[in-house]
Subunit: 329 residues, 2 copies
């Protein structure tokens, strides 16, 4: 690998000058051109590790995501990777696998690796992890999952609106009894989605709390929840699942009981993962603007990196109805 010294020698200038050229500092125009030419000649590219040591910055951010089995996360990760690459940032992947230990491990490595910042999407993060990051002044932005979100800039969507849109949509297509499959207890997004639904239907005469059953954002959870709903309310003809995986589980349950979708039962999910398009029938869902979320999260992180005492901001983006077959009547 050619180094800055090689360039300096061949160009007949000091390494300081070469470094200045690299960093666009004040250098005479002709010198810049000359040095640049030599760099090209030697096929030089600066050693990022050395730069990192000196700058305490590495143009790398960490992306903390929970387990991979909900396709929402890869899709979100992809949107972040996309924008990060545009800005010339590298991504250090921290897949927490829903394990506190593994996550703590990762958190520990961030400081000693001069990671510039972190985008966190995990409910597994603990107070002590967060404190460690804060103490080391690692800029943080949280996305999607709400956990310590009041302490940081956070990006998520208008979950309550989404819940409302979902419930209203089911009413509009003529559903008379609408159930809800909730997300995990204590998951803020889930609760908000539930409230959107509840606000929309609670004044209707058929509604009572038994139309809401617990799920856990998983296919299996949605499956069980749907069975429960069907047992409690055989006349149910619409269901709003708190996320797409649950909706898929619900569909599976309905299928087993020979209930036709959308005719006997309309199903709507939440997230807008690609899989909803592929299901048979495809599943109507409340779409989260993934690209936008990734972009905002990343840009807020950049802001925080370049301006450590930027004040925190909470972004709640709009969601939209993605109409597909499971509610097509």
């Amino acid at each position: 690998m050619t180094t800055i010294k090689d360039v300096s020698k061949k160009a007949g200038v000091s390494v300081a000058t070469v470094s200045r050229v690299l960093n666009n500092k004040k250098v005479k125009k002709e010198t810049v051109e000359h040095v640049l030419r030599i760099m090209k000649e030697l096929n030089y590219s600066p050693n990022q590790i050395a730069r990192g040591l000196s700058n305490k910055k590495t143009k790398t951010i960490a992306l903390v995501i929970p387990v991979i089995n909900n396709p929402f996360f890869p899709e979100l990760a992809s949107s972040i990777e996309h924008i990060a690459h545009k800005y010339g940032y590298k991504i250090f992947l921290c897949n927490s696998d829903d394990s506190k230990e593994k996550l703590a491990d990762y958190i520990d490595t961030l400081t000693s690796n001069y990671i510039d910042g972190v985008i966190i999407n995990s409910h597994v993060v603990e107070r002590v992890d967060i404190d460690k990051l804060i103490q080391n002044k690692v800029p943080i932005v949280t996305i999607d999952r709400k956990h310590f979100e009041h302490e940081f800039t956070h990006v998520s969507v208008k979950n309550k609106d989404g819940g409302g849109i979902a419930a209203n949509h089911l009413l509009e297509i003529g559903c008379k009894r609408i159930g809800h499959i909730k997300g995990p207890e204590n998951e803020r997004n889930a609760t908000e989605r539930y409230w959107g639904y509840r606000t929309t239907v609670h004044k209707l005469d058929w509604y009572d709390q038994s139309y809401v059953v617990a799920g856990d954002f998983s296919v299996e959870g949605g499956y069980k929840a749907m069975k429960e709903l069907l047992i409690k309310h055989p006349t149910i003809d619409g269901v709003f699942a708190a996320n797409d995986l649950s909706a898929i589980g619900a569909m599976k349950a309905a299928y087993e009981w020979n209930i036709k979708i959308p005719d006997d039962l309309a199903i709507i999910g939440f997230d807008g993962i690609a899989m909803t398009k592929y299901m048979v029938p495809s599943i109507t869902t409340i779409q989260q603007p993934l690209q936008k979320m990734g972009k905002i999260a990343f840009e807020e992180l950049m802001n925080k990196i370049n301006n450590p005492d930027a004040k925190i901001k909470h972004h709640e983006l709009d969601v939209s109805l993605m109409l597909q077959e499971s509610t097509l009547r």
Copy 2:
């Protein structure tokens, strides 16, 4: 951040000794204990960037994957991340987004970041990229996609066997006319899967080349291919899709034509992505041993890193039939 100097001062020894303790070099037992105690006291953890500069090793590997929209890749990525973390390695995520430029960009950064090695799964990689890596002596292992695989240690599965198992399974459950939805032209895995199928069915009297139609590993491709098959061969009662996404597309097509699965048409895919379980009906598939693939790829990479002239090896792992509803008769 406390540095090695702080530790050295407080412990009353030289930095060299501290470094030796860090690296388990010969140091008097009492000194080791003493230094270790001081480290703990100061909550010291060595700066990995500084270490990297000196060692030209960073305990980081790059993972190059194509686009994220085939869930197979996140699942594979996850398996690699899993084992890498166990070995104390970090993962630098290179999502090529199927773009040659983006990938070339990433390749360029690897050397200047002292990335220890690369696991590549991408058909987008170009000769020039590969050459750049080779020239810089970056250890490489390829996985899944076959591209330049003869130059490197490579991990994939017995695709031909898988194709055979799939076709045989369809025969065993009584299918009389079995079509095949191929993967992309020039994709070696796809070709091998096709040969497995062909070898199994080509001597049967009904078989001719028209039972094989082109797909592209996507849902849309599978959908179109299935329609084509149904038009050409209305009596078809089994189909082997070269990957799970195609199988899903095929299911969608069948559904539109009111063909019942598995009764009228049995479908089998390839890969074993989680999604197959979730489909309604769930899709029988040929499962790739993801965890094992990730483990072997990573360990081979470690081997190559620690022993640069290790000879290349080609691993072809066994696949297995994952029986689900789409072929359940």
